[in-house]
């Protein structure tokens, strides 16, 4: 399992691995927002938490179609499926690698972009906390979507259509934590819900992803 994780990380960092693309996308999207809604700092402050969450979510989504498709194309998935490693472990490791290469950098970059959007000071802490707790769920749910669409030629668009509705609860609670934090309201309830969703998806969804992947490998 560690070997697979290390290989995926290595592949992501090597040339053409796509590391940093998600981050750049996140940056671009955030920078575009003031152009769209106007430069008033009060307005930006109000929507900053939500925009950053949405941007992180889209950046996550962007890198999903490569998550399993590359291993599918070159036959690695067939070989991994016949390896001693259970497929459940494979998809979990894949999700973890995706989070380390996409989710974690987004969490670290979010506060910097928060400055650009005039996020209120108390919001920074909660933004980081909410993203830290929420983005693993995005990676795990995304892996499920990637497993569903892995064999398809026009999988990318379909993947978004399938995954985005599944992202709704995570987005609602995650953005709620960040927004409440920014205006100094209590954040415990949404944070607990967010953590609950993340824990439950990590515990259960890999089984669904592995089942779906097995069907697709047939």
């Amino acid at each position: 399992m560690i070997a697979l994780l290390l290989r995926d990380l290595k592949l992501a960092f090597r040339a053409g691995g796509g590391f940093g693309l998600g981050l750049a996308f996140f940056l671009i999207v955030t920078v575009m927002v003031p152009f769209a809604v106007g430069p008033q700092s009060s307005l930006l402050a109000t929507i900053a938490a939500g925009v950053l969450w949405l941007g992180a979510l889209l950046a996550c989504l962007l890198s999903l179609d490569r998550l399993l498709a590359l291993d599918w194309e070159d036959g690695s998935l067939d070989l991994l499926a016949t390896a001693p490693l259970p497929l459940e472990a494979v998809v979990t490791v894949k999700a973890l690698a995706h989070w380390l290469t996409t989710g974690l950098p987004l969490v670290l970059a979010a506060p910097i972009l928060g400055v650009l959007l005039n996020l209120p000071v108390p919001g920074f802490f909660w933004l980081i906390v909410s993203l830290l707790v929420g983005t693993p769920a995005l990676s795990v749910i995304g892996t499920f979507g990637a497993a569903l669409t892995v064999g398809l030629k026009r999988g990318g668009l379909l993947l978004s259509l399938l995954v985005l509705p599944l992202y709704v609860p995570t987005l609602i609670f995650g953005a709620e934590v960040a927004r409440r934090g920014a205006i100094g309201m209590e954040t415990q309830t949404p944070l607990l819900m967010l953590a609950g969703i993340t824990a439950a998806t990590i515990a259960l969804l890999p089984f669904a992803s592995a089942a779906v992947l097995r069907i697709n490998l047939r």
Partner: protein, 204 residues
């Protein structure tokens, strides 16, 4: 490990392609799979490797014993030859990749990125992966594609060494490898279509 297949029916896209297939593959033996294109040799190998369930029949002795090599080699172009092999060695829990490198004369290429290899070199690397797995039953799907004469000889030697150590091999190929293996022609097992008006769960 003896692989025993009894009365197997396999499907491709929900339609039976081969039926009533039975054979035994004992340690130290090789079985050459023959049959016209499209008859279902790849499907058979995938079924035996556990990637898809058979429609009918039993496969015994295959669980966690099979090293499967499909048409594609599962190589990562941005990893070096050594890194590719080490990865599969770690996944299969074996330690040494040197015998595999020796057997397929990859010594000169160890630090090259797999993406920079020629088609034949890639194929050699893909076959070297079989040695690294440490699994007793090899299943190879057209292993000699894009190999030159020397490389084919290399491959035949590797298979022979594997058999001598008590392994076995099931190879779908059209060329003569010079192995003293049995030949299994699956052409005779082509599934006969059922009556058209027998409209059941298979929609036929």
């Amino acid at each position: 490990m003896t692989l025993t297949v009894t009365d197997l029916t396999i499907t491709r896209g929900g339609i039976p392609v081969l039926e009533a297939l039975s054979f035994v593959l004992e340690p130290g033996r090789a079985l050459i799979l023959r049959g016209p294109n499209g008859i279902g040799k790849t499907t058979l190998l995938r079924t035996l490797a556990g990637l898809q369930p058979p429609l009918v029949g039993k496969i015994e002795g295959a669980e966690d014993q099979i090293a499967y090599a499909s048409h594609s080699d599962g190589l990562k172009p941005t990893l070096t030859v050594t890194e590719n092999l080490i990865f599969w060695a770690l996944v299969f829990g074996t330690d040494s990749i040197q015998p595999a490198i020796d057997a397929f004369a990859l010594n000169e290429l160890t630090d090259r990125h797999a993406g920079n290899l020629s088609a034949g070199q890639k194929r050699r690397l893909g076959l070297a992966r079989m040695l690294v797995t440490g699994r007793p039953i090899w299943m190879l799907d057209e292993p000699t594609v894009s190999l030159d004469k020397d490389a084919v000889q290399m491959f035949a030697d590797a298979v022979r060494a594997h058999l001598a150590q008590g392994g076995s091999a099931l190879i779908a190929t059209h060329i003569d490898l010079g192995l003293d293996g049995d030949i299994l022609d699956v052409g005779a097992n082509k599934a006969k279509p059922g009556p058209l008006d027998d409209f059941d769960g298979g929609f036929l």
